[in-house]
Amino acid sequence: MAFPLPKPQAPQLPQHLLRTIDCQQGAVRAVRFNADGNYLLSCGSDKSLKLWSASRGTPLKTYSGHGYEVLDADGSYDNSQICSCSSDKTVILWDVATGQVSRKLRGHAGVSCAVDDFLLHRSIDGTVRCWDTRSRRFEPIQVLDEARDSISSVKVAQHELLTGSVDGRLRRYDLRMGQLYVDFINSPITCVCFSQDGQCTLTSTLDSTVRLLDKSTGEMLGEYTGHKMKGYKLDCCLSGKDTHVLSCSEDGHVYCWDLVEGSLSLKLPVGKAVVQSLSFHPTETRLLTAMEGRVQVWGAEPEETEEAMAT
């Protein structure tokens, strides 16, 4: 005999504040989940990078070695390495366990994005540099210098590099096809990301619009407005199951739109200041936001996790 199928649950939104972490490292420039979502990284303006436990909010490690404020960080898939970049124009590859600098690459100021074997680093001079983390070479493997203005965001999917540039163009480098696709969006791009199924790209631009574009054709599938993004480089992301689109806003909220309908489903009040950065948990319904010196963790069901934490 067959059991009836469970009711399809309505997608949950991270609308309850689970905890607030005061990072003690100045303004938090960026906050990131690691690959499995158990840890989080916060990039502080006091030149330090901190690793936290996402579930308990306890600091695990502090990585110091940058000469200026840390702008972005990312962890490798095997959690053995972290790369971070700072405005002192260096990219540092950290060993997670020891906290030692395993490599220091002098390039250009920018935000980085790390994957296992290579490291992408976008910079203000409009290039994306690809380094090989295995070799000891200090020259990048390839410099993607097609952008006419500085690169604001870089993402990597299986065989594709996605870059968003201030010149208003979304560039997708398809390594398998050997093609470069350029989508013109006419407004400086602040953040790009792939959807989880890898079929769409999400771009947030400085005309206070988040656009969902079809990856293969470049057609616009959705347009999400209502937030305010005029001057800051703010993040946007998709929820874990591609159901919602989230974006920071300069009015101190995180906006959450339904992906298909395009309607605003949640306007999460974070604080009064600008929401600097946000990161969505890869599997669970959990959200990180960074505002000023604090990192806030948001979840779908507040009480249970709180109680579980308390006990």
Partner: protein, 731 residues
């Protein structure tokens, strides 16, 4: 071995070479005979039998028809019903292979036996005998003679019914036998009928007048095609002469001159008389024969000629070069015809009765002694640059002299006024300046503005709203900018010819420049204005004004002692190319329009070929999309540096001034610039879609200013687009 390899290339190889033996490879066993199979074109196996069992196997595994061989299933015979007699022809047992062209019973259209003439035909036999003489095996017609057919062909039967008899010719009967050999002297080797022998002439003595005769039989011409690679008229050794051991001619004359062959063929009297039958010595000497002197025939080389032509004919008095009369006289007893001609007359040919017409050959004209077979192009001289006497001389000498200094080095170097003059058009009556397009109050305002504000010293110090009045203002601005006094001071009295020719590419311009310099030297205050072409547009004029002034300052002649140490470069820098990416992005304006209409997709997307680094592909665990490609990144190509489109993005952020006046001015200037650009070599193209864009973007206009090299250099020094003083005012 190396030499062998080298020499291999010199040889022609036939067939497929054997596969080279590899050392490690075990020797392949040869395929045994019973496994060697031969297939016909339909894929059926053909088995060889032995040499004695003969040929291919027939049927199914040497049986016929089926695996079981014959199955006479259809053969049923009983007392009541006797089996019908089966008429089986051999063709019934043949397949298409046998009936094909190379089979045993080829099917082709042939003369059936009834119609083939195999009855004895004397004339034909004669022809055959003639041909048999030249055949490699003499007497191969013997076989045909032996096998005499019993039937005659239907044609012969028909003829016979019509009253024809053997040995006669075909045709209406004649009164007399006309062709008599002795009386009718035939020139040429028309074949005489075989029957025309001298003995017959005596029979014709009594010929009654009322008797008609059948026409003579005629030997058919032998039209056998020539086979073999020998020359015309070649005939091999007659084996019958050489080997049979005939006693009569000891000497074999291969190169007989007097054509004894003809006499042979046409049955002359001096035929060899020898016994027929088998009488060779090869069979030994019989008991009854007494001829045993020469049992074994030997052939000696002395029987043959060793020299072409053999011994001298005649009595050897004169030899080959005997005078004609002499040889004629000697050969009177022969046919005189042959004696004239010393060569061999080919079979089937005859000497011409008339000599061929002699062709008059005109010798080529003799070349003059000092002729050199190289063309020398005279230099094209500009009239204005040489002395008038020399110019006159040149004009007189050749009509190719450039007229009036208008050297047309191609129609692209003409400017509008030149083209107008060539086409015979009148000058445009419309507005010559933007100012004419303006309303009077606008003009006034502009003039006031211009007066109130100082003229810019730097061309691109910012957007200027000032405007000069059409004519006078430009002049005044010029005079304020380029002080003629300074120019004058820099041009002291110069002796000798002027060395710098900055506008050599455009001779008329150079002429104008020379005029300007001349006037400048004379101290003419109005030198600049006077030397310009009045037919040019204001834009062109102002441009030339500035160029002339600048050139006169730049190319100031140095002192002669110093100048002699330098030589001018022949050309300016020719590096007119820059590297740009191969796939240019589409027009940004279109995309912007598409974005505002929210039409993302094809309109906003560009795709380029992008070559990732090999190592990057490796790290991404992706096969290299362009294996073997050495380039990394986007493909780059060399483009012309002065192309408008390369620089479209340089002036990216300039916006169009919104006032209609500015737009009108820009449009006007664009057109004049475009007109101008067509005349210069540096301008590449006029964008074809300009009317679509409608000059909304100032940067397009700026591109037209960039097209000259000077402005390029300027733009390198900080994006100053400036050569034209008028233009700056519009910004």
């Amino acid at each position: 071995m190396a030499s062998d390899n080298d020499s291999d290339e010199d040889f022609v190889t036939y067939g497929t070479p054997l596969e080279p033996l590899e050392e490690d490879e075990p020797l392949r066993k040869p395929v045994p005979l019973h496994e060697q199979t031969v297939k016909d074109e339909k894929g059926r196996f053909q088995r060889f039998h032995g040499a004695f069992t003969g040929g291919f196997s027939a049927g199914y595994f040497n049986t016929v028809g089926s695996k079981e061989g014959w199955t006479p299933s259809s053969f049923v015979s009983s007392r009541q019903q006797k089996a019908e007699k089966q008429h089986a022809r051999p063709e019934d047992f043949m397949d298409e292979e046998d009936l094909s062209e190379h089979g045993i019973a080829p099917r082709e259209i042939t003369t059936s036996k009834e119609f083939s003439s195999s009855r004895r035909d004397l004339a034909r036999e004669k022809a055959q005998a003639i041909s048999a003489l030249s055949a490699p095996i003499p007497g191969d017609t013997l076989l045909e003679e032996l096998i005499a057919p019993a039937r005659s062909s239907i044609g012969v039967e028909l003829l016979r019914r019509m009253g024809w008899k053997e040995g006669q010719g075909v045709g209406p009967r004649v009164k007399r036998r006309t062709n008599r050999q002795k009386t009718a002297r035939v020139y040429g080797c028309a074949p005489r009928p075989a029957g025309s022998e001298d003995s017959e002439d005596s029979d014709e003595e009594f010929a009654p007048e009322n008797v008609t005769f059948a026409p003579k039989d005629v030997t058919p011409m032998d039209f056998s095609p020539k086979v073999g690679v020998q020359g015309l008229g070649y005939r091999g050794l007659d084996p019958g002469l050489a080997l049979v051991g005939r006693s009569a001619p000891k000497h074999i004359d291969l190169f007989n001159l007097q054509s004894d062959r003809n006499s042979q063929l046409f049955g002359d009297k001096q035929q060899h008389t020898h016994r027929g039958g088998v009488a060779g010595q090869a069979f030994g000497v019989g008991a009854l024969e007494d001829d045993d002197e020469d049992i074994y025939q030997r052939d000696a080389l002395s029987n043959y000629d060793t020299v072409l032509g053999g011994e001298e004919p005649g009595d050897g008095l004169y030899g080959w070069t005997a005078p004609q009369q002499y040889t004629k006289k000697k050969a009177l007893h022969r046919v005189t015809f042959y004696s004239v001609y010393l060569g061999k007359i080919l079979e089937g040919f005859t000497l011409a009765s008339k000599s061929a017409e002699e062709k008059t050959i005109f010798p080529p004209p003799s070349l003059p002694r000092d002729y050199r077979p190289v063309h020398y192009f005279r230099p094209v001289v500009d009239v204005s640059s040489v002395s008038p006497a020399l110019a006159d001389a040149l004009r007189a000498s050749r009509g190719q002299l450039v007229q009036g200094g208008d050297q047309s080095g191609g129609r692209h170097q003409l400017d509008s006024s030149q083209r107008r003059a060539l086409l015979g058009e009148t000058a445009l009556q419309g507005h010559s300046s933007v100012m004419d397009l303006l309303r009077s109050e606008d003009r006034e305002r502009l003039v006031n503005l211009c007066k109130s504000s100082n003229l810019p010293s730097s061309p691109v110090s910012g957007p200027h709203t000032t405007l000069p009045s059409p004519g006078a203002l430009a002049k005044s601005s010029l005079s304020s900018r380029f002080q003629p006094k300074e120019v004058l001071a820099s041009w002291p009295d110069i002796q000798g010819s002027q060395t710098f020719r900055p506008f050599e590419e455009n001779p008329s311009k150079q002429a104008r420049y020379d005029l300007y310099l001349r006037r400048l030297k004379q101290g003419d205050k109005d030198a600049l204005e006077a030397s310009l072409d009045p037919n040019m547009t204001e834009w062109e004029k102002s441009r030339e004004r500035e160029e002339f002034v600048r050139a006169s300052i730049l190319y100031r002649p140095s002192s002669s002692s110093l100048a002699s140490r330098f030589t001018r470069g022949k050309h300016q820098e020719d590096d007119n190319t820059v590297e740009v990416s191969q796939d240019q992005e589409a027009d940004v304006d279109d995309k912007q329009a598409a974005v505002t209409m929210k039409m993302f997709g094809k309109l906003t997307r560009d795709s380029f070929q992008w070559h990732p680094d090999k190592l990057l592909c490796k790290r991404f665990n992706v096969p290299d999309p362009y294996p073997g490609s050495s380039t990394v990144g986007l493909l780059k190509v060399k483009r012309d540096k002065f192309s408008v489109f390369n620089f479209l993005t340089v002036a990216g952020n300039l916006e169009t001034p919104g006032t209609p006046f500015c737009r009108a001015a820009i449009i006007h200037l664009l057109f004049s610039a475009a007109r101008r650009c067509c005349c210069t070599r540096h301008m590449i193209t006029f964008p074809p879609n300009l009317h679509i864009v409608e000059f909304q973007n100032l940067k397009i206009f700026l591109e037209f200013c960039v097209h000259k090299k000077e402005s390029i250099r300027k733009s390198k020094q900080g994006m100053r687009f400036g050569i034209l003083p008028q233009i700056y005012l519009f910004f």
